[in-house]
Symmetry: C2
């Protein structure tokens, strides 16, 4: 029997690899591919451009599972022509992304990130910490799909007022009001918290730019767990420096890993996470459960 390979585009923890080996014992799991491996790859978890041409030339690739919810960067037409199954983690990841967002909102509002920095300097902050009540805060969720709805439901339970943005402005359960994307600029100044969960499209590329940041309220907490390319990083840095908004929690970036020379690393009003919002501990289980049923 020929070798069958599962290619992983990310490093996973050893216990996950073990679990995967148990669930799919006749597959070899690899995180780097030699050219001799290419014809044996049947499954790709994540998609790496450096193998794209070779993998698409092979007849054995059966299934590509996009690790993030978005699939806009993938060669969708070719997948379709070759009958390659494409799946994505939007269902698997919604819960963890909603928890990540609520963790950021609560951590920021209760001064926990500031407290941790003070701890590292052995400084007792006393009451000199920034904190705010969540009740009656206005949260704008940009993207009212599965994840957005879940965030609205969690946030509502803390007394937060939830507003939504989607393409047409159609109403969505759980949102006090929704607006079309083209009205974003008009309403964003009324918001205390802005969360971007949009996929990348022509309309959303570079959406958060200098012109939009001009309209933010200066106390705004901005969270991006959508796509890095939706935010013009250089404009965001300038806006944060000039106090156009108060704080940014970023999980996705125009370039990942975030380059060492990025000013974001050292900014006091920025929390950086390494594209982790969607990670769930039983990701492989759920994934392999899906695979083994196919």
């Amino acid at each position: 029997m020929a070798e069958k390979i599962i290619y992983l585009d990310r490093e996973f923890r050893p216990e996950f690899i073990d679990e995967m080996n148990q669930l799919a014992p006749d597959y070899t799991v690899k995180t780097e591919l030699e050219s001799a491996d290419i014809p044996h790859v049947e499954i790709s978890l994540g998609w790496n451009r450096k193998y794209e041409k070779d993998l698409l030339a092979s007849d054995h690739l059966k299934w590509v599972h996009s690790i993030s919810a978005g699939v806009d960067a993938l060669p969708l037409t070719t997948f379709s022509e070759k009958g390659i199954l494409l799946s994505n983690g939007s269902g698997i990841h919604s819960q963890s992304i909603a928890e990540h967002i609520m963790g950021v909102i609560l951590g920021y509002s209760r001064g926990l990130f500031q407290a941790q920095k003070a701890q590292l300097n052995k400084k007792w902050l006393g009451t000199a910490v920034h904190y705010q009540a969540l009740e009656k805060q206005k949260l704008l969720i940009v993207g009212t799909g599965k994840i957005g709805k879940l965030v609205a439901q969690k946030a509502d339970n803390f007394g937060i007022s939830c507003y939504g943005i989607n393409t047409t402005g159609h109403p969505v359960d759980g949102f006090i009001q929704t607006y079309p994307l083209k009205e974003l600029k008009q309403i964003i100044s009324q918001m205390d918290i802005v969360v971007n969960i949009l996929p990348l499209t022509e309309q959303t590329k570079g959406l958060y730019n200098e012109r939009l940041f001009e309209h933010f309220a200066t106390h705004t907490l901005f969270i991006n767990v959508g796509r890095g390319d939706s935010v013009k990083t250089i404009d965001l840095i300038q806006a944060l420096d000039e106090g156009k908004l108060a704080f940014a929690a970023l999980d996705v970036f125009e370039e990942e890993p975030l380059p060492k020379e990025s000013p974001l690393w050292e900014m006091d009003n920025v929390l950086l996470t390494s594209h982790i919002a969607g990670l769930t501990p039983d990701f492989q289980n759920k994934l392999m459960a899906i695979f083994l049923k196919i």
Copy 2:
């Protein structure tokens, strides 16, 4: 008209003092007292032992508002004898304490505190972050009063299973099951998260000690927002060092401010906050609203 003083036992932000001056214009607000001030103090927000004897000797002290929810350290008998009104912030603070607790749980479970430390070292963690799903986690809330019930309600909305401890084990709405305090040792090993919200009593002083930590599951997240004296700090440090539990988020301490020489400051599996869980931005408003009605 003689001077009337409101004594504040903590530093508050300038805008709060301004607001207080507006709400009570015929009072002078002081955060330090000279001996000549003592007879003019009518209201004490918080209670400072160094003024205790003098303030109790005066006939003008009308009202002591305990800033924390607990009042066990105050001279309750004398207050009662002298007709000094005593109030505490338990109602005012419940919401913010519940938000603090949920912020800690979510921040820990989504790897946000670890991510922030990595950021300070300009390290891109990738997926090498500790994260866990909240669904089905078992949360033990030690203290099923107003705050405990609010925490259970918030946690339940993330799919967390909530168990409670109170003195007698009487059932409380919102908890799957409650146990009497004397059974704490028996059930604590089944819990993923343990939150202490108990007031200080004979039974709870030093409750979290070496013998109890022996029974914790090694992956436990422990949160103390109750009283510092409920935890034997030296035993907790040892238990954390030996891996008897995974992480501690502490807002209250046996000695506050936490001494500079405490090993807690530098422990990687500890988040310290400076007795801030109960802080709410409109504390003074609510407080003065109460006062002006009396």
